[in-house]
């Protein structure tokens, strides 16, 4: 199964939950804490954590596309 991730930086409030959950996939900009997507197509072993990061994001910034 393939999984793709996208983020909407205009929605992000810099809470950092995604980075604490999956640092392999998400980072924050040094200057203002806004999300940076490191890996739009994460490896399968990270899928569960990526779904969790999307579910707990306080501003629904992360979208997971699965097909």
């Amino acid at each position: 199964m393939s999984l793709r991730v996208s983020v909407d930086q205009t929605r992000c409030c810099g809470a950092g939950q995604c980075v604490l959950t999956v640092p392999e996939v998400f980072d924050q900009r040094e200057e203002d804490g806004i999300v940076v997507l490191l890996e739009p197509a994460p490896a399968e072993e990270l899928h569960r954590a990526v779904r969790e990061a999307a579910a707990v994001c306080p501003t629904s910034t992360i979208t997971v596309h699965e097909d």
Binding site: D32, E52, A55, T59
Partner: protein, 403 residues
Amino acid sequence: MTTDEQLLNYPFPGETALEPPAEWERLREQCPVAHVRLPSGDQATLLTKYDDVKRVLADPRFTRRLDAPDAARLSAEGDGVFSGEMTKIVPDTGEGHQHWRRLVAKWFTAKRMIALRPKMTEIAERLVDDMVAGGAPGDLRAALGFPLPVYVICDMLGVPAEDRDRFSHWSDALLNLTRYTKAETEASQLEFFQYMSEHVTAKRAEPGDDLLSELIAVGPPEEGGLSDLQIVVTGMGLLVAGHETTANMIGKMVAMLLSDRSRWERLLADPSLVRTAVEEALRLDANAGIGLPRYLREEIEVSGTTLPRGTTVICSMASANRDEGVFDAAAEMNMTRSPNPHLAFGSGIHSCLGQALARTELQVVLEVLLRKLPTLELAVPQEELRRVEGLAVGGLSELPVRW
């Protein structure tokens, strides 16, 4: 909801310090948009269901302008952190707010918090050693829960941790509901403001390697920075927010885990559960305080009820976090729950700026206690734990433990 329904006094007293008030479940099921009377005597609308609370906190039409002339007052004893003069100095919405938030947020990124972990661990270990040296039983709130977040936020702001008893008093006054008189809260706020003003002036003269010095270094508003007044108020806000809530949560989390010792034993056997256990403790906090107030400038419908313009809404995140429609076995503590989209830090663009800091502190405290004091247990029956009274945030007045 009907307007003739009995007006409930809010906040609701819980039977014990760790159990939720029975009203939450009843209101979620029967009256998710309820009329309540606040400690000030003013009326407000209480939201208790997850979907409503989440939506309202993220909806900019529910403003944070609790200083509006017809907004309900939380306390009869003067304006505090939600409605005082301070709240007008940093823009609460729009581009101005976003600019402020981004200037400050760089200090609270997950990476910075991960980098602070070793230092936090060192402080926590030293505090635990001091508690043990004092002999059992000890008060975990006074020995660890309170000082750890104070040391960390003081370090970030470059203010001396030796002044922590004063910060603690000023912070309580800003979060006052019924503990202090109007004269006391006003005097405290003035003292706190003067203290922070002098501190910012000193940092301007002699900058350090701290958040306030760097905010000053960005320059004045016309150069993309903040005014001195905004920096002072930011310092006050971060000092209050950075220790009071986390200090309380450390005590409540440890109490929750020790009140059923099989939880503690499970964590001892598998410390990899610390992260999800912390989230579950945040979700199940039954003593979180009053929740978050919002003020409506226009008429809006919530769950089929029309709220008129001028309504003050109180969002109970603690009740929302126990909504059976969202969380399976919501009343049960499940330390492996994942995902755990609780609302303890709010929701939407105003969700807690310091949440990565709070999470890291809670995780560090738990790791250190499990490692250094595996035999930790409550020194009193959990029914005897007492709540902090009269403030907008909830906690335990002390946490007697032995080991």
